[in-house]
């Protein structure tokens, strides 16, 4: 199989998988889902590391390093903030401790 076709195959199948895995999400989770997906594309950090680590041009090096900083903010910040949100969803499982108070 032609190499470009292999990549195309992976791409197309990933499109279907991407739609399929989130097709049943409730609107309750839209915000964390968007935030989590956002963190996943922070994986461009890997791309930034690869190009920066193989360049021998000073300008390209600086641009690559900027890309690494930006991508790391995206990836690390994205996963941390998503976890912060989801922590609250988990806490909610416990019964409400304050019901019946006052009145």
């Amino acid at each position: 199989m032609d190499e470009a076709v292999v990549w195309l195959t992976i791409f197309i199948l990933s499109v279907f998988v991407g739609i399929e895995v989130i097709s049943k999400v409730s609107s309750t989770l839209h915000t964390p889902l968007m935030s989590g997906a956002n963190a996943i594309h922070g994986i461009i950090l890997l791309g930034a590391v690869l190009v920066t680590g193989s360049t021998d041009n000073d300008v390209a090096l600086v641009v690559g390093l900027v890309a690494i900083v930006l991508a790391a903010v995206n990836m690390v910040g994205g996963f941390v903030v998503t976890d912060r949100m989801l922590q609250m969803f988990v806490r909610k499982k416990k019964p409400a401790p304050t019901s019946g108070e006052g009145a």
Partner: protein, 459 residues
Amino acid sequence: MPTWVQLVNLLCAICFVLALKGLSGPRTARAGNLLGAAAAVVAVVLPFIYLDLEHVPLIVAAIAVGSVGGVIGAQKVQMTQMPQMVALFNGVGGGAAALVALVELHEMVPHADAVNWFVLAATAFTIAVGAVSFAGSIVTFAKLQELMTSRPVIFPGLPIVFGASGIAAIVLGVLTVTQPAVWIGIALALLGLLVGVLLVLPVGGADVPIVISLLNAFTGLTVAAGGYVLSNVVLLVAGTLVGASGTYLTLLMAKAMGRSVANILFGALKGGSTLGAGEASDRPVRSAGPEDVAILLGYAERVIIVPGYGLAVAQAQHTLRELVDVLSARGTQVDYAIHPVAGRMPGHMNVLLAEAQVPYEQLVEMDDINGDFKHTDVVLVVGANDVVNPAAKTTPGAPIYGMPILDADEAKQIVFMKRSMRPGFAGIENELLFDPKTTLLFGDAKDSLGKLLNAVKAL
């Protein structure tokens, strides 16, 4: 690339699929996110092991700087500011992708004859769309953070400038393929920035979340294209997953608002959003004090709370929950009606109320509660406006026309807690405020809820 590395990459790609799958269910969401994070860390560490990378100390330092910045931002952000945080993280990701593609173009130029034209096209795509995503997200951030007006910004000739920039970007993209040069790539990036700004400027405040989701999908696709350029399967799969799911999510959200994505992006250009005056009205309304509202609530059998973004801004979720607890103890049946786009983006209100530890069962989604309003004695609208605005049904041409709303107008009594008569995020007046069944309780939501709570306790 050694086979074991390829296999680990495959494993990471699988983890990203499972992460997304996990994120779409409430019980598995947190585990899904952590799995995604673990896979991302492994994928990034790999090249340090199997490749002989140069500039390692600098690279590690840059990763450390970005990570610390990301963690600080993520820890400090208020839950109310979540949409702009997502926009910002998305923007820097898009910017990073564009820069990566620029560096890669620079490396390709000396031996461009040997490079497949499709690789060059993917590089051009990454540069252009990454720049669009970066600039668009920054404008989105500025709108949500209220660094600039959240109303649609339109100037004469905007569609022409937008169209011309788009065509110029395509021409430069073709040039990148036919005669690759770094300066063409840089020009393409600059043009992408312009297109990104022009794309988001005409979008009105209430529609901004849809744009965040769309730009998120854009960034995903640029990362996928970048993965193809760098022949890296992890980037390709992760980027494509985000691109596809993000696009689908955007369509879901647009549907929840009763709008098409094209209408959201370009509606303002047709002059559809000019109805919003953005100013306080001086038409007469009926207002009351906390004691009067306490009597309404205290002797009601059925109460529905409609929480909005204003509630969270006033940090009044906890006081509201106390009030609901007291009312429930008095025998009143109380539920929260959650509009799909309550807050600043879909699902945002659930996050905000979860923070206040409101029990999950009391949150009822729009479709499940809309039939109950006609049997409801009092609807208490706290810091919400657009999601109960009947103009969505009655006024063709209103920016929110066609958006499904909570049918609060069918209840016997409606109480609005508002700071002022300023219109909601969409910038349009709400007829329901002037309805004879409606009572207004002016003041800061937290302050008013505190007084209301004491008054109900005193009944």
